[in-house]
């Protein structure tokens, strides 16, 4: 493994993620802007978001100063050196922090001290999966703290929400989470949902939904229908961009499902802000770029 190669391309991945808003997200924000009245506060907020995205891309500046939790999703060949890859990724994160693509954003939870290079205990976050190919697929999501704070997990049935163990119950949980968040999660972003799973896997799978593009249709027909219905419902709430009121509260709802225990029925909701930083790259066995994703 050529260290320098890997590191250089992983730094470039971080730079792109932090400074270059994906095209599908930008197009969705533009559609949202076109739906709002010209002089409304929602239009002002959406216009500022688009201007900001253009400025960040042009000058190589982070889209948002909260460069968030760095979540790396790796798909590697069988018997690949994952420890070595994790070490390369940590080195890339350190360098990207020194270059100003990332804020010093990682704190010691006990002492409160700030880690200078964003490499701490369990930070950055790595998810590994083995695949059949010879290439390494790296997808990176930067998830800010504002939207992370408004996520949550429900356990059905929930008497307070009148939510039972069915898709209608799931719908009620998602609507509750979005209503409670109001503008705090920097709406309009994408709502990731996991039906089922455990307390831990539910959160991971809800976040995995963010790897799907805004317009991508769910392959499971029942979930595709629920996604469409929920997006329409959420946007009828009128919370709008930054909670200032408006027609678009979310750009998409993405739902996954995991098997569950008979006793458990969790619905996990994870919110992604409009500054939806997601990039990916396919790297060859020596760390060279095959192609960029998204």
């Amino acid at each position: 493994m050529k260290k320098a190669h890997w590191e250089k391309n992983l730094v470039e991945l971080i730079r792109r993620a932090s400074t270059d808003l994906p095209a599908d997200v930008e197009a969705a924000l533009r559609r949202a802007l076109n739906r709002e009245k010209k002089s409304s506060l929602a239009a002002w907020a959406l216009e500022s978001m688009l201007q900001n995205a253009a400025r960040a891309r042009r000058d190589g500046i982070p889209i948002c100063q909260d460069t968030g939790e760095l979540i790396f999703f790796f798909r590697v060949p069988v018997e690949f050196d994952t420890n070595g890859l994790a070490a390369r990724a940590r080195a890339a994160v350190s360098r990207a922090t020194r270059l100003g693509y990332l804020r010093q954003n990682t704190l010691d939870a006990v002492s409160g001290a700030s880690f200078e290079t964003n490499v701490g205990y369990g930070a950055p976050t790595f998810c590994f999966e083995q695949g059949g190919r010879k290439t390494v697929d790296v997808r990176l999501v930067l998830k800010g703290g504002g939207c992370e704070n408004v996520g949550g997990q429900y356990s059905l049935p929930d008497a307070g929400l009148d939510a039972g163990r069915d898709l209608e119950g799931v719908r009620r949980c998602v609507l509750d989470a979005v209503w409670r968040a109001q503008g705090a999660g920097c709406a309009p972003g994408v709502i990731g949902v996991c039906i089922g799973g455990s307390r831990a896997s539910g959160h991971v799978h809800a976040k995995e939904q963010f790897l799907r593009r805004v317009g991508e249709r769910n392959r499971v027909r029942a979930l595709a229908r629920l996604e469409t219905k929920l997006l329409a419902d959420v946007n009828r709430l009128g919370v709008g961009a930054m909670g200032l009121g408006g027609k678009t509260t979310a750009l998409a709802v993405k739902i996954g499902a995991l098997s569950r225990l008979p006793a458990c029925f969790f619905v996990t909701v994870s919110a992604m802000c409009w500054a939806f930083r997601r990039r990916g790259v396919v790297l060859g066995p020596e760390g060279g770029v095959h192609r960029w994703l998204y």
């Binding site: 506060l41 002002w44 907020a45 500022s48 978001m49 201007q51 900001n52 400025r55 960040a56 000058d59 500046i61 982070p62 889209i63 948002c64 100063q65 909260d66 460069t67 100003g100 990332l102 804020r103 010093q104 954003n105 704190l107 409160g112 001290a113 700030s114 800010g144 703290g145 504002g146 704070n149 039972g164 069915d166 898709l167 209608e168 719908r171 009620r172 609507l175 209503w179 109001q182 503008g183 705090a184 920097c186 229908r225 629920l226 219905k229 419902d233 009828r236 709430l237 009128g238 919370v239 709008g240 930054m242 909670g243 200032l244 009121g245 802000c273 409009w274 500054a275």
Partner: protein, 194 residues
């Protein structure tokens, strides 16, 4: 668009109404979780916040040729400071709070009582908002609190936002929340089949 320059007077602040766009120039102080807790607990305040604006913001700042360069400086969620904010407004004479997502009842009442406004900047718009920062005149608590939580003294020109809570006790968020509560009731009625 109303324009305000530091120091901000009670009279100027009281003229602002919810929904109005405002442009701030002059000095602003960044303040986040650690600083709010520190001041609330009676800790030392190295700057004079009277008639000043605090910005709920943890910027990305780089050191270049012995000067600080602010690269990204958007607002952070303000609601986390709700427990501290009313007392700090009253004790320090803060006139303007810039942040995102709005604040609660205590702050709404403190704004009305003391003559203070809450301005919503666009969350996440860090590159755009950093352009309003002309220079950094000082930084405090950098070693203790870290880059994001330090108190940065920023000189800004045309820092923009919308007045979302005014000195008359009106709150844009309260209106949106109530309207969306009614909408939620309607949406819940139209369910999916089990």
């Amino acid at each position: 668009m109303k324009t305000l320059r530091y120091p901000f007077t009670a009279a100027a602040v009281k003229e602002l109404a919810v929904g109005e766009m405002v442009s701030l120039s002059g000095r602003v102080f960044t303040a986040r979780d650690r600083l709010h807790k520190h001041l609330y607990e009676g800790g030392r305040c190295p700057v004079n916040l009277k008639n000043g604006a605090i910005y709920h913001c943890g910027p990305i700042v780089l050191r270049r040729d012995r000067t600080w360069v602010v690269r990204a400086a958007g607002p952070t969620t303000s609601l986390r400071q709700e427990a501290y904010m009313p007392r700090l407004i009253a004790q320090h004479g803060i006139r303007v709070i810039v942040g995102k997502g709005g604040m609660g009842e205590g702050t709404r009442q403190a704004c009305a009582k003391c003559g203070c406004v809450y301005v919503q900047a666009v969350g996440g718009a860090a590159a755009l908002l950093a352009e309003a920062v002309r220079s950094v005149s000082a930084v405090h608590f950098l070693r203790e609190f870290g880059m994001a939580e330090a108190l940065w003294v920023l000189e800004v020109e045309n820092l923009r936002g919308v007045v979302a809570m005014d000195a008359q006790g009106r709150s844009l968020y309260r209106r949106v929340r109530e309207r969306s509560r009614r909408a939620l009731r309607d949406v819940l009625r139209n369910g999916v089949k089990a």
